[in-house]
Symmetry: C2
Subunit: 214 residues, 2 copies
DNA sequence: TAGATTGTTAATCGATTAACAATC
DNA sequence: TAGATTGTTAATCGATTAACAATC
């Protein structure tokens, strides 16, 4: 099918549909309606239908969408089928956690190796190489790595980011809570824990206020 | 000052301003303009000004905002001043990484203890207790814990979530990529790595396509 | 056929941006 | 005074929701 232009908001919702569909038992009904999906995820059914229309080639009135095809369509659209190789810089605790997380495979992400200015070991528990920083460029060029993950302390993030770009990396996933300055053609996705925490603590604040009144 | 109603979009941008302001040298200029902030973060200056208007009690034309007061205003607004106690369930790799991350203090988050069905040790490296699941309720009630962090495998997330709610927890921060069903008054914030990955891999897809054409 | 469901077109809502007056 | 900057009011943009026709 021909993909239409897709907005970020839709893109962010797609993984949710997929995870839900995957969570259903293998031998569940062959078809699933947008209504059912919407209810399960607590969303509006029109929104679900509109989103699905963008990535699948349509459901059938009265019946719904073919469950398995839908799953395939979404995961293909999200690029979970063809894996992306990535490298990670900063083999601290968070870095190690990400390196060891096997779940990324399901999203088509394959972390090849970690880099650190001061590697404590030369391999992770599951055998991925931990290399010194000065091998970064060579490694990236040789393996045509386009994605980099930053898990270094805040103070070094920009510097590491610049190095990555110099190595030909085009997409950066960062866990350091700083704004990174990059050229236009580079995408930075910040896993900003501070944002989430802000939302949560505002909620608690509101909750507490409410219970004061009652 | 009297706080106005604030939207989620604004709330998500506030931590960014604060981190940037904090990154400036202690002895930097006393005042900073919205224009300067906007440029540094690559945003529109009107947006910055509007956002700041909601949390600070105003800047001075031609001069800008008092830098230190602004920082205080934002962090107070975000509740970083009064710490929130939280517990974490799932002392695996990710759980351990979060437990050990000292940076949360700066956001007013204090993880008191971890729980696990099968604790490997009874303390983390930095001395936080790792307790068996059946002590969860007691602990939460005694310490009046309102925030819970879920770092268990996907399959157990809903179950753990239910348990947390039964223990009086009102805000849940989850790292499991599943939709969690909760009552209305509970806030779930999902640290959804799949979403970020989706954005990143779409970007790479587009990049690759582009380079094909050229 | 009747009813459930899809997909589209129009209406609403909210958030961002632009224009401008106020101020130091 | 002139110019930089703030804050507000109006215009634009995009995304969500509502209404409805099409379909099996």
């Amino acid at each position: 099918m021909q993909y239409k232009e897709i907005s970020k908001s839709v893109l962010k919702r797609l993984p949710g549909y997929l995870t839900y569909l995957k969570s259903l038992p293998e031998d569940d009904a062959t078809y699933i309606s947008a209504t059912a999906l919407a209810n399960a995820l607590g969303m509006g059914e029109v929104q679900v239908r509109k989103d699905l229309a963008l990535v699948s080639d349509g459901g059938r009135p009265k019946i719904g969408y073919h469950r398995k095809s839908l799953m395939e369509d979404i995961s293909q659209f999200l690029g979970y089928d063809n894996t992306t190789d990535a490298i990670l810089v900063g083999a601290g605790k968070l870095g190690q956690a990400l390196l060891g997380y096997s779940g990324f495979k399901a999203y088509g992400l394959n972390i090849l190796a970690a880099f650190d200015t001061n590697p404590v070991a030369d391999r992770t528990e599951d055998g991925k190489p931990i290399l010194p920083m000065d091998e970064l460029e060579n490694y990236c060029r040789k393996n045509k790595v386009l994605m980099g993950i930053i898990t270094v302390p805040t103070a070094y993030a920009q510097q590491v980011c610049d190095q990555m770009i110099a190595c030909g990396i085009k997409a950066i996933w960062t866990f350091a809570p700083v704004h990174l300055d990059v050229p236009e053609n580079i995408l930075v996705q910040s896993e900003n824990m501070a944002n989430s925490l802000a939302l949560l603590s505002m909620h608690l604040k509101a909750q507490i206020k409410e219970s004061d009144i009652l």
